[in-house]
Every structure is written in structure tokens, then in C-alpha cells.
Symmetry: C2
Subunit: 215 residues, 2 copies
């Protein structure tokens, strides 16, 4: 995932909460699905990424919902740190796809955007290039219910498609795109499900780190 | 933006052969499936790729098989030129996957290899990194019939996995990887179907061309 030459990520999370194994397993899978399984630096997966959560019980019983939320917040923070620490990365990209038909459609489209080399280089160049975002949605051609006339694209809070950006908006957008965090928000308007994924820009640094050594 | 599934690419091919529309349409689709639909510079597709083949009939009747082969050779040449001309490309990568279960498996695995940023940067760095090729095969996790113990990986004619390369082989391989054309050959040993796809290395040039302008 991240480390050059087959990233191998091993994550160990310890808690003193008292949670039985079955419950903890179910919570952990839900949390991982929304965090670590939503990060991609370069689409390339490793054979040995592992996450483990261990609960000692020393702190006694906990509220299950509050515990799951706390785990989620810790793992979300780690997920963003992974993306921000990607090889050569200079910017964190967060892509939220909402109003999707189902979770699978939301995640597939979000991953297509965050993994697109053209979107990643546009973000690197601080260019609010909504055409490339639309392209990435369009290449998910397996979904015939996505109608380009109904898709809405935003960078940060600024809508860029279909409503064109005015001069003042463009000035704000230009400043936003130069920041270290760029959020791309796409509403598909095919349903009511959302997914957020994280990645990073594609830079000369990525190429150098991964090309300039031999095995 | 080059992965014709049909970058904005318009190809017009003219022939004086006399071929009826139905036959020409069928031949053209078969040829495009093995050529233009097998090239990818960066996975990013365009809305408007088009190929058209027009036959005037002025040269009279032709042998259909010979005509199809001739069309294939022209389109294969153009396909390799597209890959070699990719943004910032310095090397052509040809990936052949054979002994696959079916055409869909062969093409999916071949595309995973040719599109892997880690494989593309390894080729850019002239590194015969078979581990990254194995990683790209492994990320096609939808195929549970692919057994890593039975996969064979070659760069050019040199087997690199599972049989390890000796000193003499490594010297030849090092020289081969510095060439302008790199061929990666993977045998899956799940069946008897093959597919060849084309792409290019990932370079600083790609990043600069796609990041350093605004829209």
C-alpha cells in the first residue's frame, strides 16, 4: 500500500474496554470498512496488510455505540495519516460520493476519482479541473443509472458543475486548491447512499521514490 | 488521458478492398478488441474515442482472412504508437498474459499489470521487479483459481519467477530493462487463453504534463 516494494502495513490497536470477541469483531470490520479499506495511494495492494484490535477488559463494560464511534475516530485519523504520508504526497485528497444507489456504487465511483492519475495530477497542480472528475465518474460505465445531467460536482463547498463558477467563486476556489487538503464532493443522484475515501496527489516525488532504486 | 474504451481519439482508416458492411463491421470489432481496446496509458478514459473504417471497394474482392490480418497489423502498429506517445512516456510496456481461464481473466490481469503505478515506475527505473508484477496479479483477488505457486513471470525471454535468475541472466536482464521496449510475460496456468495489452512507463514527465497547467 504505502512502503515502496510491496507495502506491508501492520496495525495493532489496544483498548482496555471490556468487549466480547464476537462484538468486537463485528465493530472492527465495520470500522475498517469505513477507514483503512477506503484509502488508496496508488491502487497497488500488498499481500500482508493486517489490522488487529485487542481488548483487555481492564476498564470494564463500555457503551457499544460510543466505543464504535471512538474506534472509528482513531482509525479515521490513522487513515488520513496513511494517505498524507503516501510516497511523494503533498496533498490529502478526500472524495465523498453521496446520493448513490448503494454502498458498492458509491465506493466504486469514489475510488475511480481518488485513483485517477489525471485527478491526482490536477490536485497536485492546484487545478479545480472538474472535467477530470466527470471523466472518472464516466469511466464507471457499468452503472447505466448514472445520468451526467444529474451529477453535481463540488471542490470543498464550491459547486463547479453543473452551475458554473463566477469570478468571486473562482478566486476562492483557486485559494482552496492551493491548500494541503482538497475535498471533492460528487452527488450522483441515483439513490441515498454515501461513501468517503482518501488518497493523495501524484507527484514527481512518487515517481522518484518508486523508480530510483533496484531490487 | 489514454485508455481507449473508446483520450479523445478519432481514428479513420480507409481501404480500397471490397467488403460488405456487415463483414467489415465484424472484422473491425475483432481487430479493435485486440488492438485499441488493449492500450492504456493511465486508466483514464475519454467520452469521445472513435474508430471508423471505410471501404471503397475500388480494389475489388479480397481474401477475408488476409484482409483481417492486414487490418490487425496496421491497428497494432498504431496501438503501440499510442502507448509509446503517452504523456511523458519513455518506454513501451507490452504485457502478455497467457494460459488464462478465459479472455476476460487474461485481459483483466494484463490490464492490472500494465496499469500498476508500481510496475510502471519500476520499468521507468529499469528495475526487473517481479515482486511488483506478482502484486498486480494478486490484486485481481476476484479470481480464486489463480494459484501463486503456479504463476510464471518473465521479463522478455528471461524467467524471473519462480526460478530465480542466475548472475549471467541478471546481467542480460539488466541490459534488457534499459531498452525502449519492455515485455512482461505472465503465465497463469488456469487455462489456455492469452491476451496482450500495451502501456508505458510512469515518469516525472507525466506528472509535469498533467499538473502544470490550469483549465
Amino acid at each position: 500500500m504505502i512502503e515502496p516494494n510491496m507495502a506491508t502495513l501492520i496495525t495493532l490497536l489496544f483498548t482496555d474496554a471490556r468487549v466480547d470477541g464476537t462484538t468486537l469483531g463485528a465493530i472492527w470490520r465495520r470500522v475498517i470498512d469505513r477507514t483503512f479499506n477506503c484509502v488508496s495511494v496508488d491502487t497497488d495492494t500488498s499481500t500482508s496488510d493486517t489490522t488487529v484490535c485487542l481488548a483487555s477488559g481492564a476498564a470494564g463494560a463500555v457503551d457499544s455505540a460510543a466505543f464504535e464511534q471512538a474506534l472509528y475516530e482513531v482509525m479515521l485519523s490513522l487513515t488520513k495519516q496513511i494517505a498524507r504520508d503516501g510516497e511523494g504526497a503533498e496533498k490529502l485528497i478526500e472524495v465523498c460520493v453521496d446520493s448513490a444507489r448503494d454502498a458498492e456504487q458509491a465506493k466504486t465511483v469514489a475510488k475511480a476519482i481518488v485513483n485517477s492519475p489525471l485527478v491526482k495530477t490536477a490536485v497536485h497542480g492546484a487545478d479545480p479541473n472538474w472535467g477530470r472528475v466527470a471523466m472518472a465518474v464516466g469511466k464507471c460505465s457499468q452503472y447505466d443509472d448514472i445520468d451526467q445531467e444529474r451529477v453535481v460536482i463540488r471542490f470543498g463547498d464550491q459547486e463547479v458543475y453543473p452551475v458554473a463558477v463566477d469570478e468571486a467563486g473562482l478566486a476562492r476556489l483557486s485559494s482552496y486548491m492551493k491548500g494541503a487538503d482538497v475535498r471533492i464532493h460528487v452527488s450522483l443522484n441515483t439513490g441515498s447512499t454515501a461513501c468517503t475515501v482518501w488518497g493523495c496527489d501524484l507527484t514527481d516525488g512518487y515517481v522518484r521514490i518508486n523508480a530510483d532504486y533496484t531490487t
